[in-house]
Amino acid sequence: MINLGVNWRRVRAVMVKEFIQLRRDRLTFAMMLGVPLLQLILFGYAINNDPRNLPTAVLVEENNQYTRSFLNALENSRYYKINSVLDNHRQAQRKLETGAVTFVVTIPAGFGRDLLRGDRPQLLIQADATDPAATSNAVAALEGISRNAFRHEFRGPLASLNAPPPAVDVVIHRLYNPESISTYNIVPGLIGVILTMTMIMMTALTLTRETENGTLENLLSMPVTPLEVMLGKVAPYVCLGLFQVTVILITASLLFGVPIVGSLLLLFLVALVFISANVFLGFTLSTFARTQLQAMQMTFFVFLPTILLSGFMFPFRGMPMWAQYLGEILPLTHFLRMVRGIVLKGNGVAEILPELWPILLFLVLVGWVALLRYRRTLD
């Protein structure tokens, strides 16, 4: 039997208790603040998807003013930094394999002659696409570079060569051609990822900690209902989650200049629903776990697919259908769409509503399971 009558005084008592314990547990508290900041800085800076000054080697089979102009144009784009000049293809291969350079630019013999004839000589650019996101922007910049590289040379009688198509045919070799994700796209998504991890883990640990320490037996022998325990235990983490959102938004705005186009209030409301769904999921997990270690394992069991299938790591529409169906169940999937919509596109209530109700449904279902699972006895 589930007793849905709530004595708010008891809920508050559990809540106050959780706050006190949270405050005593300095390490956890530091983690709750430190992890989001660390992730944000790592994802935002270290995992920079618009890297510049990528190490580049050149293999020049002909050295004249035209080849020099092209190489200057490459460097001026700030994507390429030429740091070595090679003699043969074998060297080029080696440089790429060892990761010493990201690009090798090969300028073939007869380049200048073909250029002046208007024969569109081929230029080979080999890209180390191990980290595709790292090179995509540099590659994308090539078109503009090749169009403008010879402005100074193509004057007078040669001016006709300025007309499209570009005077050079740039051939790009790479393993695969990825979709690029910008910082603007990642940082709002990080709000969801960070919240998912910290909220589920923290709440999954609270109830199992009581089981492990033997305090659950005491709690059960007192007149406090499962719903009261659940609400009281979950409330401090909801507050903490909202605090995390604030910290991330401020950091995102100060460090990365992410513009927040839409309504902040709406963003926080959406975050509140999302946080609630996660803390209830964490609480439900804790009713299955017998030890804190199991609770941690369960958290990761949930966390990994969440990261992979929500559209945070890979473009959602690029996933196979079955993965998309799974992804639709996850709160993070819907939260990412809402947050990106609000932050970057300035979406309002009307646009986000279709994404909000699946999270609410998830919240109700998971909360219900938690209440059914929370044992009123030690049987």
Binding site: R9, V14, Q21, T377
Partner: protein, 312 residues
């Protein structure tokens, strides 16, 4: 004990509880009257803790029924929770919270009308006031036990269930603890306390002895001694260990209990034991004296009987 028919506070019949097919409580019936202090004794694993948990609704019995404070133990455990105090075997308050924070928490859960004052009263009564701001994890065993008792009576329960409350606590603290229990009982609180200590059993109005999930004997200390029907001789002297070994082989001797400078020799047939004593008391090294059988003798005998039964 009052002359009028006492109100039963606990009245449970034929409780059975199995865990994974193993019967831990096997048809236990318990009757406890208002204001009584009842000791619940028995070896480890005899089902004491499980029985206590059944009575406060923390476990549901596989069969059997009963009432606790007039409420059905299977269907009305919510009501029971309001009016009982339960002190678990393992300390189960929050070690990362202070004394006053723990008491505040418990007081709030019971919805005490004047919680702050009650918490202060309890701290004063249990001598916890100087340690009110101390984090519980840093308290010694005796202080933790005091806190646990204070927390389990903060809501003035009608029934107090204590599961080995004094395990690991020094003799002074134990004594003090029992004085408090008697004080509380004199004000009408009913107490069921499980224990391993014989001196604690003697402090109870009545004793229930369980073994292997069944009640073996029950009654006041005198009744239990009478029921046991044992006669006792005390032997003092030297070389007692050799004598003890010899006596243990005699059929008329049921039990030899060793004390520092003496042996308690127990037998069920008083005449035969007396005859044995008459034979042996000529030895000048040993001084034989007839003695009253104590509760301790009986409980040692009950424990030994349990060991014999368990032996392969």
């Amino acid at each position: 004990m009052p002359e009028t028919t006492p109100t039963p506070v606990i009245e449970v019949k034929d409780l059975v509880k199995k865990f994974d097919g193993k019967t831990v409580v096997n048809g236990v019936s318990i009757h406890v009257n208002e204001g009584e202090i009842v000791g619940f004794l028995g070896p480890n694993g005899s089902g004491k803790t499980t029985t206590i948990r059944l009575m406060c609704g923390l476990l549901t019995p596989d069969s059997g029924s009963g009432q606790c404070l007039g409420y059905d133990i299977t269907t009305q455990s919510e009501k029971i929770r309001q009016q009982i105090g339960y002190m678990t075997q393992k300390f189960s308050f929050y070690e990362d919270m202070t004394v006053v924070e723990n008491l505040d928490f418990v007081g709030e859960l019971y919805g005490l009308a004047n919680r702050a004052r009650r918490v202060n009263d309890m701290m004063a009564q249990f001598g916890l006031t100087p340690r009110r701001q101390q984090v519980v994890g840093t308290l010694s065993g005796g202080w933790k036990q005091r806190l646990a008792l204070a927390a389990s009576v903060i809501h003035t329960p009608k029934l107090l269930l204590l599961d080995e409350p004094t395990a690991g606590v020094d003799p002074n603290a134990r004594r003090e603890f029992w004085d408090r229990i008697h004080d509380l009982a004199s004000k009408g609180l009913t107490v069921l306390v499980s224990t391993h200590y014989i001196d604690e059993a003697e402090r109870c109005h009545r004793v229930i002895y369980v073994s292997d999930g069944q009640v073996v004997t029950r009654g006041t200390a005198d009744e239990i001694i009478d029921q046991a029907n044992l006669s006792t001789w005390v032997v003092r002297g030297d070389n007692l260990e050799t004598l003890a070994h010899a006596l243990e082989k005699r059929p008329e001797v049921r039990q030899v209990a060793r004390f520092g400078r003496s042996l308690h020799v127990l037998g069920t047939d008083a005449a035969r034991l007396d005859a044995l004593a008459e034979d042996l008391r000529d030895d000048p090294d040993h001084d034989w004296q007839r003695a009253d059988t104590t509760l301790e003798d009986v409980l040692i005998d009950l424990g030994a009987r349990n060991d014999r039964a368990a032996a392969p």
